[in-house]
Protein backbone atom coordinates (compact mmCIF):
# COMPACT_ATOMS: atom_id res chain seq x y z
CA UNK A 1 0.00 0.00 0.00
CA UNK A 2 2.61 2.48 1.10
CA UNK A 3 4.98 1.61 -1.76
CA UNK A 4 2.13 2.05 -4.23
CA UNK A 5 1.46 5.54 -2.91
CA UNK A 6 5.11 6.36 -3.06
CA UNK A 7 5.34 5.12 -6.62
CA UNK A 8 2.34 7.22 -7.59
CA UNK A 9 3.91 10.27 -5.98
CA UNK A 10 7.16 9.64 -7.84
CA UNK A 11 5.28 9.35 -11.14
CA UNK A 12 3.47 12.61 -10.42
CA UNK A 13 6.75 14.34 -9.60
CA UNK A 14 8.29 13.03 -12.83
CA UNK A 15 5.29 14.26 -14.82
CA UNK A 16 5.59 17.69 -13.31
CA UNK A 17 9.33 17.79 -14.01
CA UNK A 18 8.74 16.74 -17.60
CA UNK A 19 6.07 19.37 -18.07
CA UNK A 20 8.35 22.03 -16.61
CA UNK A 21 11.13 20.98 -18.99
CA UNK A 22 8.70 21.13 -21.91
CA UNK A 23 7.49 24.59 -20.93
CA UNK A 24 11.06 25.89 -20.87
CA UNK A 25 12.02 24.12 -24.09
CA UNK A 26 8.91 25.07 -26.04
CA UNK A 27 8.38 28.60 -24.76
CA UNK A 28 10.40 30.12 -27.65
CA UNK A 29 7.99 28.56 -30.14
CA UNK A 30 4.99 29.79 -28.22
CA UNK A 31 6.46 33.29 -28.19
CA UNK A 32 6.97 33.21 -31.95
CA UNK A 33 3.43 32.04 -32.65
CA UNK A 34 2.00 34.75 -30.37
CA UNK A 35 4.27 37.39 -31.91
CA UNK A 36 3.06 36.49 -35.38
CA UNK A 37 -0.36 37.86 -34.35
CA UNK A 38 1.00 41.16 -33.05
CA UNK A 39 1.86 44.45 -34.70
CA UNK A 40 5.38 45.80 -35.03
CA UNK A 41 4.76 48.48 -32.42
CA UNK A 42 3.77 45.80 -29.94
CA UNK A 43 6.93 43.83 -30.72
CA UNK A 44 9.75 46.25 -31.29
CA UNK A 45 10.74 48.85 -28.75
CA UNK A 46 7.73 48.07 -26.58
CA UNK A 47 8.16 48.89 -22.91
CA UNK A 48 6.91 45.50 -21.80
CA UNK A 49 6.72 42.01 -23.19
CA UNK A 50 3.23 40.57 -22.83
CA UNK A 51 2.93 36.83 -22.58
CA UNK A 52 -0.65 36.98 -23.77
CA UNK A 53 -1.38 40.17 -25.71
CA UNK A 54 -4.75 41.86 -25.39
CA UNK A 55 -4.85 42.85 -29.07
CA UNK A 56 -4.44 40.28 -31.82
CA UNK A 57 -4.15 40.93 -35.54
CA UNK A 58 -4.05 38.86 -38.69
CA UNK A 59 -2.31 41.56 -40.68
CA UNK A 60 1.10 39.85 -40.62
CA UNK A 61 -0.42 36.77 -42.17
CA UNK A 62 -2.30 38.64 -44.86
CA UNK A 63 0.90 40.49 -45.79
CA UNK A 64 3.00 37.35 -45.72
CA UNK A 65 0.47 35.35 -47.73
CA UNK A 66 0.30 38.03 -50.41
CA UNK A 67 4.05 38.74 -50.55
CA UNK A 68 5.81 35.56 -49.55
CA UNK A 69 3.90 32.91 -51.49
CA UNK A 70 6.65 32.61 -54.09
CA UNK A 71 9.29 32.17 -51.38
CA UNK A 72 7.33 29.40 -49.72
CA UNK A 73 7.03 27.78 -53.13
CA UNK A 74 10.79 28.14 -53.66
CA UNK A 75 11.47 26.43 -50.34
CA UNK A 76 9.09 23.62 -51.31
CA UNK A 77 10.86 23.15 -54.64
CA UNK A 78 14.24 23.11 -52.92
CA UNK A 79 13.03 20.64 -50.26
CA UNK A 80 11.43 18.34 -52.83
CA UNK A 81 14.44 18.60 -55.14
CA UNK A 82 16.85 17.77 -52.33
CA UNK A 83 14.70 14.76 -51.42
CA UNK A 84 14.58 13.52 -55.01
CA UNK A 85 18.32 13.99 -55.57
CA UNK A 86 19.14 12.29 -52.28
CA UNK A 87 17.01 9.24 -52.96
CA UNK A 88 18.09 8.91 -56.60
CA UNK A 89 21.77 8.97 -55.64
CA UNK A 90 21.73 7.30 -52.22
CA UNK A 91 19.44 4.34 -52.89
CA UNK A 92 21.48 2.56 -55.60
CA UNK A 93 24.73 3.34 -53.79
CA UNK A 94 23.41 1.99 -50.49
CA UNK A 95 22.21 -1.16 -52.26
CA UNK A 96 25.58 -1.77 -53.88
CA UNK A 97 27.49 -1.13 -50.65
CA UNK A 98 25.20 -3.43 -48.69
CA UNK A 99 24.96 -6.30 -51.16
CA UNK A 100 28.32 -6.54 -52.89
CA UNK A 101 31.72 -6.83 -51.38
CA UNK A 102 34.00 -4.38 -53.10
CA UNK A 103 37.63 -4.32 -52.18
CA UNK A 104 37.10 -0.62 -51.59
CA UNK A 105 33.93 -0.90 -49.45
CA UNK A 106 35.61 0.15 -46.22
CA UNK A 107 37.29 3.05 -48.02
CA UNK A 108 34.04 4.20 -49.63
CA UNK A 109 32.04 4.02 -46.41
CA UNK A 110 34.86 5.74 -44.55
CA UNK A 111 34.88 8.61 -47.01
CA UNK A 112 31.11 9.00 -46.60
CA UNK A 113 31.61 9.28 -42.86
CA UNK A 114 34.21 11.98 -43.47
CA UNK A 115 31.91 13.72 -45.97
CA UNK A 116 29.30 14.04 -43.21
CA UNK A 117 31.82 15.92 -41.12
CA UNK A 118 32.86 18.56 -43.69
CA UNK A 119 31.67 22.06 -42.78
CA UNK A 120 29.26 23.57 -45.30
CA UNK A 121 31.01 26.93 -45.36
CA UNK A 122 34.13 25.28 -46.80
CA UNK A 123 32.09 23.80 -49.63
CA UNK A 124 30.12 27.02 -50.15
CA UNK A 125 33.27 29.08 -50.60
CA UNK A 126 34.58 26.86 -53.41
CA UNK A 127 31.19 26.17 -54.97
CA UNK A 128 30.57 29.89 -55.39
CA UNK A 129 33.57 30.24 -57.71
CA UNK A 130 32.93 26.92 -59.46
CA UNK A 131 29.24 27.79 -59.97
CA UNK A 132 30.26 31.21 -61.24
CA UNK A 133 32.16 29.45 -64.04
CA UNK A 134 29.44 26.88 -64.70
CA UNK A 135 26.56 29.37 -64.59
CA UNK A 136 24.94 27.54 -61.67
CA UNK A 137 24.66 30.51 -59.33
CA UNK A 138 21.02 31.55 -58.74
CA UNK A 139 19.74 28.23 -60.05
CA UNK A 140 17.60 25.60 -58.40
CA UNK A 141 19.87 22.88 -59.76
CA UNK A 142 22.98 24.38 -58.22
CA UNK A 143 21.34 25.04 -54.88
CA UNK A 144 19.81 21.56 -54.67
CA UNK A 145 23.17 19.93 -55.42
CA UNK A 146 24.71 21.92 -52.57
CA UNK A 147 21.79 21.34 -50.20
CA UNK A 148 21.98 17.58 -50.67
CA UNK A 149 25.55 17.54 -49.38
CA UNK A 150 24.46 16.55 -45.91
CA UNK A 151 21.54 14.29 -46.82
CA UNK A 152 23.35 12.17 -49.42
CA UNK A 153 26.14 10.76 -47.20
CA UNK A 154 23.65 10.45 -44.34
CA UNK A 155 21.17 8.72 -46.65
CA UNK A 156 23.68 6.23 -48.04
CA UNK A 157 24.87 5.28 -44.53
CA UNK A 158 21.37 4.92 -43.06
CA UNK A 159 19.98 3.02 -46.04
CA UNK A 160 23.00 0.74 -46.22
CA UNK A 161 22.75 -0.05 -42.51
CA UNK A 162 19.11 -0.95 -43.06
CA UNK A 163 19.72 -2.97 -46.22
CA UNK A 164 22.44 -5.02 -44.53
CA UNK A 165 19.67 -6.38 -42.35
CA UNK A 166 17.48 -7.48 -45.26
CA UNK A 167 17.36 -11.24 -45.92
CA UNK A 168 19.83 -11.96 -48.73
CA UNK A 169 17.94 -15.10 -49.74
CA UNK A 170 14.96 -13.15 -51.02
CA UNK A 171 17.15 -11.09 -53.35
CA UNK A 172 19.06 -14.18 -54.47
CA UNK A 173 15.76 -15.92 -55.17
CA UNK A 174 14.65 -13.06 -57.38
CA UNK A 175 17.92 -13.32 -59.30
CA UNK A 176 17.43 -17.06 -59.78
CA UNK A 177 13.98 -16.35 -61.12
CA UNK A 178 15.65 -14.39 -63.89
CA UNK A 179 15.42 -10.84 -62.56
CA UNK A 180 18.33 -8.59 -63.46
CA UNK A 181 20.28 -6.93 -60.67
CA UNK A 182 18.42 -3.71 -61.39
CA UNK A 183 15.02 -5.44 -61.34
CA UNK A 184 15.84 -7.17 -58.07
CA UNK A 185 16.81 -3.79 -56.64
CA UNK A 186 13.59 -2.12 -57.81
CA UNK A 187 11.13 -4.90 -57.05
CA UNK A 188 12.60 -6.53 -53.97
CA UNK A 189 15.04 -4.23 -52.18
CA UNK A 190 13.14 -0.95 -52.51
CA UNK A 191 9.77 -2.19 -51.23
CA UNK A 192 11.45 -3.91 -48.28
CA UNK A 193 13.37 -0.74 -47.39
CA UNK A 194 10.27 1.44 -47.18
CA UNK A 195 10.68 2.64 -43.60
CA UNK A 196 14.35 3.60 -44.02
CA UNK A 197 13.48 5.39 -47.27
CA UNK A 198 10.83 7.44 -45.46
CA UNK A 199 13.33 8.39 -42.76
CA UNK A 200 15.94 9.53 -45.27
CA UNK A 201 13.36 11.37 -47.37
CA UNK A 202 12.13 13.29 -44.31
CA UNK A 203 15.61 14.37 -43.32
CA UNK A 204 16.51 15.32 -46.88
CA UNK A 205 13.38 17.44 -47.12
CA UNK A 206 14.01 19.19 -43.81
CA UNK A 207 17.61 19.86 -44.87
CA UNK A 208 16.62 21.41 -48.17
CA UNK A 209 13.71 23.32 -46.66
CA UNK A 210 15.74 24.69 -43.77
CA UNK A 211 18.97 25.43 -45.62
CA UNK A 212 20.30 28.93 -45.14
CA UNK A 213 24.05 28.87 -45.67
CA UNK A 214 23.95 27.78 -49.33
CA UNK A 215 21.01 30.06 -50.12
CA UNK A 216 22.94 32.96 -48.61
CA UNK A 217 26.11 32.24 -50.54
CA UNK A 218 24.91 30.81 -53.87
CA UNK A 219 21.90 33.07 -54.54
CA UNK A 220 21.85 36.84 -54.90
CA UNK A 221 18.12 37.09 -54.21
CA UNK A 222 17.25 38.50 -57.62
CA UNK A 223 15.88 35.29 -59.09
CA UNK A 224 14.29 33.37 -56.24
CA UNK A 225 14.78 33.05 -52.53
CA UNK A 226 13.73 30.49 -49.93
CA UNK A 227 11.84 31.37 -46.76
CA UNK A 228 14.95 31.25 -44.56
CA UNK A 229 16.63 33.92 -46.67
CA UNK A 230 13.50 36.13 -46.60
CA UNK A 231 13.30 35.95 -42.82
CA UNK A 232 16.91 37.05 -42.71
CA UNK A 233 16.30 39.98 -45.06
CA UNK A 234 13.22 41.01 -43.07
CA UNK A 235 15.49 41.74 -40.14
CA UNK A 236 18.38 43.35 -41.94
CA UNK A 237 20.31 46.42 -40.95
CA UNK A 238 17.60 48.81 -42.02
CA UNK A 239 14.43 47.02 -41.09
CA UNK A 240 13.04 45.51 -37.94
CA UNK A 241 9.90 43.99 -39.33
CA UNK A 242 9.28 41.58 -36.50
CA UNK A 243 5.60 40.84 -37.01
CA UNK A 244 5.97 39.66 -40.57
CA UNK A 245 9.26 37.90 -39.82
CA UNK A 246 7.53 35.94 -37.06
CA UNK A 247 4.56 35.05 -39.28
CA UNK A 248 7.02 33.83 -41.90
CA UNK A 249 8.92 31.92 -39.21
CA UNK A 250 5.69 30.11 -38.37
CA UNK A 251 5.47 29.03 -42.02
CA UNK A 252 9.11 27.96 -41.91
CA UNK A 253 8.44 25.79 -38.88
CA UNK A 254 5.28 24.16 -40.25
CA UNK A 255 6.87 21.24 -42.15
CA UNK A 256 8.88 20.18 -39.11
CA UNK A 257 5.78 20.38 -36.93
CA UNK A 258 3.64 18.43 -39.38
CA UNK A 259 6.27 15.76 -39.89
CA UNK A 260 6.68 15.42 -36.16
CA UNK A 261 2.96 14.71 -35.80
CA UNK A 262 2.62 12.48 -38.85
CA UNK A 263 5.93 10.65 -38.90
CA UNK A 264 7.45 10.88 -35.46
CA UNK A 265 8.78 7.35 -35.34
CA UNK A 266 10.72 7.81 -38.58
CA UNK A 267 12.35 10.92 -37.20
CA UNK A 268 13.37 9.22 -33.97
CA UNK A 269 14.66 6.31 -36.06
CA UNK A 270 16.75 8.66 -38.17
CA UNK A 271 18.30 10.21 -35.11
CA UNK A 272 19.36 6.95 -33.55
CA UNK A 273 20.16 4.87 -36.62
CA UNK A 274 21.96 7.69 -38.35
CA UNK A 275 24.37 8.30 -35.55
CA UNK A 276 24.73 5.36 -33.23
CA UNK A 277 24.33 2.52 -35.60
CA UNK A 278 24.85 4.15 -38.99
Amino acid sequence: MRTATRRRLAAAAASIAALAALVVLLFPLYAVVVASFETNSQLFGASQYSFFPSVWTLSNYTTVLSQQGSHVLSSLIIGAGTTAATLAIALPAAHALARYRFRATALLVGSLLVAQILPSIVIANSLFLIYHQLGLLNSYLGLIIADASYAIPFGILVLRAFMLGLPGDVIAAARVDGASEWQAFCRVVLPMSRSAIITVALFAFLNGWGDFIFALTLLNGNTFEPVTLSIYTYLGEFSQNWGEAMALAVFAVLPAAMLLIAAQRYIAAGLTVGSVKG
Partner: protein
Protein backbone atom coordinates in the same frame (compact mmCIF):
# COMPACT_ATOMS: atom_id res chain seq x y z
CA UNK B 1 28.03 -29.65 -44.72
CA UNK B 2 28.02 -25.94 -45.13
CA UNK B 3 30.59 -26.13 -47.90
CA UNK B 4 28.39 -28.50 -49.84
CA UNK B 5 25.34 -26.37 -49.24
CA UNK B 6 27.26 -23.30 -50.34
CA UNK B 7 28.44 -24.79 -53.58
CA UNK B 8 24.98 -26.15 -54.28
CA UNK B 9 23.56 -22.69 -53.83
CA UNK B 10 26.21 -21.23 -56.06
CA UNK B 11 25.41 -23.83 -58.69
CA UNK B 12 21.75 -22.98 -58.41
CA UNK B 13 22.43 -19.31 -58.82
CA UNK B 14 24.30 -19.93 -62.04
CA UNK B 15 22.12 -22.34 -63.95
CA UNK B 16 23.20 -23.92 -67.22
CA UNK B 17 24.50 -21.23 -69.53
CA UNK B 18 26.61 -21.16 -72.65
CA UNK B 19 30.14 -22.34 -72.02
CA UNK B 20 31.59 -19.04 -73.12
CA UNK B 21 29.51 -17.02 -70.72
CA UNK B 22 31.66 -17.28 -67.57
CA UNK B 23 34.52 -15.59 -69.37
CA UNK B 24 32.91 -12.17 -69.86
CA UNK B 25 30.02 -12.35 -67.45
CA UNK B 26 31.91 -11.65 -64.23
CA UNK B 27 33.37 -8.54 -65.77
CA UNK B 28 29.95 -7.41 -66.94
CA UNK B 29 28.52 -8.14 -63.54
CA UNK B 30 31.29 -6.22 -61.86
CA UNK B 31 30.61 -3.29 -64.17
CA UNK B 32 26.91 -3.46 -63.29
CA UNK B 33 27.77 -3.39 -59.61
CA UNK B 34 29.92 -0.32 -60.02
CA UNK B 35 27.11 1.29 -62.05
CA UNK B 36 25.01 1.43 -58.87
CA UNK B 37 27.77 3.45 -57.25
CA UNK B 38 28.38 5.75 -60.22
CA UNK B 39 25.90 8.55 -59.37
CA UNK B 40 27.09 8.69 -55.77
CA UNK B 41 30.73 8.66 -56.89
CA UNK B 42 30.10 11.53 -59.29
CA UNK B 43 28.31 13.45 -56.59
CA UNK B 44 31.03 12.95 -53.99
CA UNK B 45 33.59 14.12 -56.54
CA UNK B 46 31.62 17.22 -57.52
CA UNK B 47 30.24 18.27 -54.14
CA UNK B 48 33.03 17.21 -51.79
CA UNK B 49 36.34 16.23 -53.36
CA UNK B 50 36.63 19.04 -55.90
CA UNK B 51 35.46 21.85 -53.57
CA UNK B 52 37.82 20.68 -50.82
CA UNK B 53 40.76 20.43 -53.20
CA UNK B 54 39.85 23.76 -54.77
CA UNK B 55 39.62 25.36 -51.33
CA UNK B 56 43.17 24.22 -50.68
CA UNK B 57 44.35 25.67 -54.00
CA UNK B 58 42.56 28.96 -53.33
CA UNK B 59 44.20 29.28 -49.95
CA UNK B 60 47.58 29.57 -51.69
CA UNK B 61 46.43 32.13 -54.26
CA UNK B 62 46.48 35.90 -54.39
CA UNK B 63 42.78 36.54 -54.97
CA UNK B 64 40.98 39.83 -55.43
CA UNK B 65 37.50 40.86 -56.59
CA UNK B 66 38.94 40.89 -60.11
CA UNK B 67 39.99 37.24 -59.97
CA UNK B 68 36.47 36.00 -59.11
CA UNK B 69 35.69 35.52 -62.77
CA UNK B 70 38.72 33.24 -63.20
CA UNK B 71 39.22 29.84 -61.68
CA UNK B 72 42.83 30.50 -60.82
CA UNK B 73 44.83 33.43 -59.47
CA UNK B 74 48.55 34.08 -58.99
CA UNK B 75 50.40 31.94 -56.48
CA UNK B 76 50.68 33.64 -53.11
CA UNK B 77 52.70 31.21 -51.05
CA UNK B 78 51.69 31.18 -47.43
CA UNK B 79 50.66 34.81 -47.33
CA UNK B 80 46.93 34.07 -46.91
CA UNK B 81 47.70 31.91 -43.91
CA UNK B 82 50.07 34.36 -42.27
CA UNK B 83 47.75 37.31 -42.91
CA UNK B 84 44.65 35.48 -41.73
CA UNK B 85 46.14 33.80 -38.71
CA UNK B 86 47.89 36.88 -37.40
CA UNK B 87 44.62 38.80 -37.56
CA UNK B 88 43.31 39.23 -34.00
CA UNK B 89 39.69 38.71 -35.05
CA UNK B 90 40.53 35.37 -36.63
CA UNK B 91 42.59 34.31 -33.64
CA UNK B 92 39.83 35.14 -31.20
CA UNK B 93 37.30 33.41 -33.49
CA UNK B 94 39.39 30.23 -33.38
CA UNK B 95 39.75 30.32 -29.60
CA UNK B 96 36.06 31.19 -29.24
CA UNK B 97 35.04 28.28 -31.47
CA UNK B 98 36.77 25.91 -29.06
CA UNK B 99 35.35 27.46 -25.90
CA UNK B 100 31.92 27.66 -27.50
CA UNK B 101 32.06 24.01 -28.55
CA UNK B 102 33.27 22.84 -25.13
CA UNK B 103 30.62 24.84 -23.25
CA UNK B 104 27.85 23.76 -25.66
CA UNK B 105 28.71 20.08 -25.36
CA UNK B 106 29.03 20.20 -21.60
CA UNK B 107 25.60 21.76 -21.04
CA UNK B 108 23.93 19.78 -23.80
CA UNK B 109 25.19 16.61 -22.17
CA UNK B 110 24.19 17.58 -18.62
CA UNK B 111 20.69 18.73 -19.61
CA UNK B 112 20.22 15.96 -22.17
CA UNK B 113 21.29 13.27 -19.73
CA UNK B 114 19.05 14.63 -16.98
CA UNK B 115 16.09 14.60 -19.37
CA UNK B 116 16.99 11.11 -20.60
CA UNK B 117 17.00 9.86 -16.99
CA UNK B 118 13.67 11.59 -16.45
CA UNK B 119 12.09 9.97 -19.51
CA UNK B 120 13.47 6.65 -18.39
CA UNK B 121 11.10 6.77 -15.40
CA UNK B 122 7.56 5.57 -15.75
CA UNK B 123 5.00 8.33 -15.70
CA UNK B 124 1.96 9.41 -17.67
CA UNK B 125 2.62 11.75 -20.62
CA UNK B 126 6.04 10.20 -21.09
CA UNK B 127 5.62 9.39 -24.77
CA UNK B 128 3.96 12.71 -25.47
CA UNK B 129 6.75 14.65 -23.78
CA UNK B 130 9.44 12.62 -25.51
CA UNK B 131 8.06 13.40 -28.95
CA UNK B 132 7.61 17.11 -28.27
CA UNK B 133 11.16 17.41 -27.06
CA UNK B 134 12.38 16.71 -30.60
CA UNK B 135 10.97 20.01 -31.85
CA UNK B 136 14.02 22.28 -31.31
CA UNK B 137 16.21 19.90 -33.26
CA UNK B 138 14.02 19.94 -36.37
CA UNK B 139 13.61 23.67 -36.90
CA UNK B 140 15.59 25.49 -39.55
CA UNK B 141 18.65 26.83 -37.72
CA UNK B 142 18.23 30.35 -39.02
CA UNK B 143 14.66 30.42 -37.72
CA UNK B 144 15.92 29.37 -34.29
CA UNK B 145 18.54 32.12 -34.35
CA UNK B 146 15.90 34.70 -35.31
CA UNK B 147 13.53 33.39 -32.65
CA UNK B 148 16.10 33.87 -29.90
CA UNK B 149 17.06 37.28 -31.25
CA UNK B 150 13.44 38.20 -30.63
CA UNK B 151 13.40 36.70 -27.12
CA UNK B 152 16.63 38.47 -26.13
CA UNK B 153 15.54 41.93 -27.29
CA UNK B 154 16.44 44.83 -25.05
CA UNK B 155 13.04 46.55 -25.13
CA UNK B 156 10.05 44.27 -24.79
CA UNK B 157 12.10 41.08 -24.94
CA UNK B 158 10.64 38.03 -23.22
CA UNK B 159 13.85 37.08 -21.41
CA UNK B 160 14.25 40.50 -19.85
CA UNK B 161 10.58 40.51 -18.89
CA UNK B 162 10.87 37.12 -17.17
CA UNK B 163 14.00 38.18 -15.26
CA UNK B 164 12.35 41.44 -14.18
CA UNK B 165 9.16 39.63 -13.14
CA UNK B 166 11.26 37.25 -11.07
CA UNK B 167 13.02 40.26 -9.52
CA UNK B 168 16.39 38.95 -10.67
CA UNK B 169 17.22 42.17 -12.49
CA UNK B 170 15.88 45.72 -12.25
CA UNK B 171 16.87 47.13 -15.62
CA UNK B 172 16.56 45.21 -18.91
CA UNK B 173 19.88 43.84 -20.17
CA UNK B 174 21.11 44.85 -23.62
CA UNK B 175 22.09 41.39 -24.77
CA UNK B 176 22.84 42.50 -28.31
CA UNK B 177 24.99 45.38 -27.18
CA UNK B 178 27.36 43.72 -24.75
CA UNK B 179 30.00 41.33 -26.13
CA UNK B 180 29.79 39.01 -23.13
CA UNK B 181 26.01 38.79 -23.15
CA UNK B 182 25.87 38.37 -26.92
CA UNK B 183 28.16 35.35 -26.60
CA UNK B 184 25.97 33.91 -23.85
CA UNK B 185 22.82 34.29 -25.96
CA UNK B 186 24.41 32.44 -28.88
CA UNK B 187 25.57 29.75 -26.48
CA UNK B 188 22.13 29.33 -24.88
CA UNK B 189 20.53 29.12 -28.32
CA UNK B 190 22.95 26.47 -29.48
CA UNK B 191 22.44 24.46 -26.30
CA UNK B 192 18.68 24.65 -26.84
CA UNK B 193 19.13 23.23 -30.36
CA UNK B 194 21.34 20.34 -29.27
CA UNK B 195 19.54 19.15 -26.14
CA UNK B 196 16.97 17.02 -28.04
CA UNK B 197 19.76 15.24 -29.89
CA UNK B 198 21.56 14.35 -26.66
CA UNK B 199 18.30 13.43 -24.93
CA UNK B 200 17.07 11.08 -27.63
CA UNK B 201 20.37 9.26 -28.08
CA UNK B 202 21.08 8.94 -24.37
CA UNK B 203 17.50 7.87 -23.71
CA UNK B 204 17.74 5.07 -26.27
CA UNK B 205 21.02 4.00 -24.65
CA UNK B 206 19.39 3.93 -21.20
CA UNK B 207 16.65 1.71 -22.58
CA UNK B 208 19.31 -0.84 -23.46
CA UNK B 209 20.82 -1.03 -19.96
CA UNK B 210 19.83 -4.52 -18.71
CA UNK B 211 17.32 -4.27 -15.86
CA UNK B 212 18.83 -7.38 -14.20
CA UNK B 213 22.15 -5.59 -13.92
CA UNK B 214 20.59 -2.66 -12.08
CA UNK B 215 18.53 -5.02 -9.93
CA UNK B 216 21.63 -7.03 -9.02
CA UNK B 217 23.45 -3.85 -8.01
CA UNK B 218 20.47 -2.82 -5.90
CA UNK B 219 20.42 -6.15 -4.10
CA UNK B 220 24.14 -5.76 -3.46
CA UNK B 221 23.29 -2.57 -1.63
CA UNK B 222 24.16 0.05 -4.23
CA UNK B 223 22.24 3.30 -3.87
CA UNK B 224 20.76 5.25 -6.82
CA UNK B 225 23.92 7.34 -7.26
CA UNK B 226 26.19 4.32 -7.19
CA UNK B 227 23.95 2.48 -9.65
CA UNK B 228 24.16 5.47 -11.95
CA UNK B 229 27.93 5.90 -11.82
CA UNK B 230 29.00 2.27 -11.45
CA UNK B 231 26.47 0.52 -13.70
CA UNK B 232 24.56 2.85 -16.02
CA UNK B 233 27.37 5.17 -17.08
CA UNK B 234 29.89 2.41 -17.90
CA UNK B 235 27.24 0.52 -19.90
CA UNK B 236 26.21 3.50 -22.01
CA UNK B 237 29.75 4.87 -22.42
CA UNK B 238 30.00 3.92 -26.13
CA UNK B 239 26.90 5.99 -26.89
CA UNK B 240 28.21 8.90 -24.84
CA UNK B 241 31.38 8.84 -26.94
CA UNK B 242 29.39 8.87 -30.18
CA UNK B 243 27.17 11.70 -28.99
CA UNK B 244 30.14 13.83 -27.99
CA UNK B 245 31.94 13.27 -31.27
CA UNK B 246 28.87 14.06 -33.34
CA UNK B 247 28.16 17.04 -31.12
CA UNK B 248 31.71 18.29 -31.69
CA UNK B 249 31.33 17.93 -35.44
CA UNK B 250 27.99 19.78 -35.44
CA UNK B 251 29.20 22.55 -33.18
CA UNK B 252 32.58 23.52 -34.65
CA UNK B 253 30.81 24.47 -37.88
CA UNK B 254 27.99 26.50 -36.31
CA UNK B 255 27.01 29.27 -38.69
CA UNK B 256 23.27 29.91 -39.14
CA UNK B 257 22.60 30.50 -35.46
CA UNK B 258 25.25 33.19 -35.16
CA UNK B 259 24.19 34.92 -38.37
CA UNK B 260 20.54 34.84 -37.31
CA UNK B 261 21.24 36.15 -33.82
CA UNK B 262 24.19 38.52 -33.85
CA UNK B 263 25.88 38.33 -37.28
CA UNK B 264 29.10 37.96 -35.35
CA UNK B 265 28.69 41.24 -33.47
CA UNK B 266 28.89 43.38 -31.50
CA UNK B 267 32.46 44.26 -32.50
CA UNK B 268 33.13 40.69 -33.72
CA UNK B 269 32.58 39.36 -30.21
CA UNK B 270 30.52 36.40 -31.42
CA UNK B 271 32.50 35.53 -34.54
CA UNK B 272 33.22 31.84 -34.89
CA UNK B 273 35.56 30.37 -37.49
CA UNK B 274 32.76 29.66 -39.95
CA UNK B 275 31.19 33.11 -39.71
CA UNK B 276 34.53 34.91 -39.96
CA UNK B 277 35.47 32.83 -43.00
CA UNK B 278 32.14 33.84 -44.52
CA UNK B 279 32.91 37.48 -43.82
CA UNK B 280 36.32 37.25 -45.44
CA UNK B 281 34.94 35.54 -48.53
CA UNK B 282 31.53 37.03 -49.12
CA UNK B 283 31.80 40.46 -47.49
CA UNK B 284 35.44 41.35 -48.24
CA UNK B 285 35.59 39.16 -51.39
CA UNK B 286 38.97 37.91 -50.25
CA UNK B 287 38.52 34.31 -51.33
CA UNK B 288 42.13 33.38 -50.61
CA UNK B 289 41.95 34.54 -46.99
CA UNK B 290 38.55 32.88 -46.52
CA UNK B 291 39.93 29.65 -47.97
CA UNK B 292 42.91 29.75 -45.61
CA UNK B 293 40.61 30.06 -42.60
CA UNK B 294 38.36 27.36 -44.05
CA UNK B 295 41.35 25.05 -44.17
CA UNK B 296 41.86 25.64 -40.46
CA UNK B 297 38.19 24.83 -39.82
CA UNK B 298 38.51 21.75 -41.99
CA UNK B 299 41.51 20.51 -40.04
CA UNK B 300 39.69 21.01 -36.74
CA UNK B 301 36.61 19.16 -38.01
CA UNK B 302 38.72 16.37 -39.49
CA UNK B 303 40.39 15.95 -36.13
CA UNK B 304 37.22 14.08 -35.18
CA UNK B 305 37.27 11.91 -38.31
CA UNK B 306 39.53 9.06 -37.11
CA UNK B 307 37.51 8.77 -33.89
CA UNK B 308 34.25 8.88 -35.78
CA UNK B 309 35.40 6.19 -38.20
CA UNK B 310 36.71 4.06 -35.36
CA UNK B 311 33.39 4.26 -33.56
CA UNK B 312 31.71 3.15 -36.77
CA UNK B 313 34.18 0.31 -37.38
CA UNK B 314 31.39 -2.29 -37.47
CA UNK B 315 29.75 -0.38 -40.30
CA UNK B 316 32.98 -0.36 -42.29
CA UNK B 317 33.24 -4.12 -42.08
CA UNK B 318 29.71 -4.43 -43.40
CA UNK B 319 28.19 -6.02 -40.36
CA UNK B 320 24.53 -5.55 -39.83
CA UNK B 321 23.98 -3.23 -36.87
Amino acid sequence: MSVVAGSARRAARRPAGPAAAPRHRPRLRRAARWAFLLPAGGYVLFAFAIPIAYNLVLSFEQTSPATISHLTAPFAGLSNYTATLTNPVADSAIVRTFSFTAASLLFQFLIGFALALLFNLRFPLRRFARSLILVPWLLPLLVTGTMFKFLFQLQGGAVNQILIDLHLIRQPIGYELSPGWAYVTVLITNIWIGVPFFTVLLYSALQDVPAELLEAARIDGAGPWQRLTRVTLPVIRPVIEVVFILGFVFTVKVFDVVIGLTQGGPANSTQLIATWAYNLTFQDFDFGAGAALNTVLLLIALFAAPLYIWLNRQTLRGESP
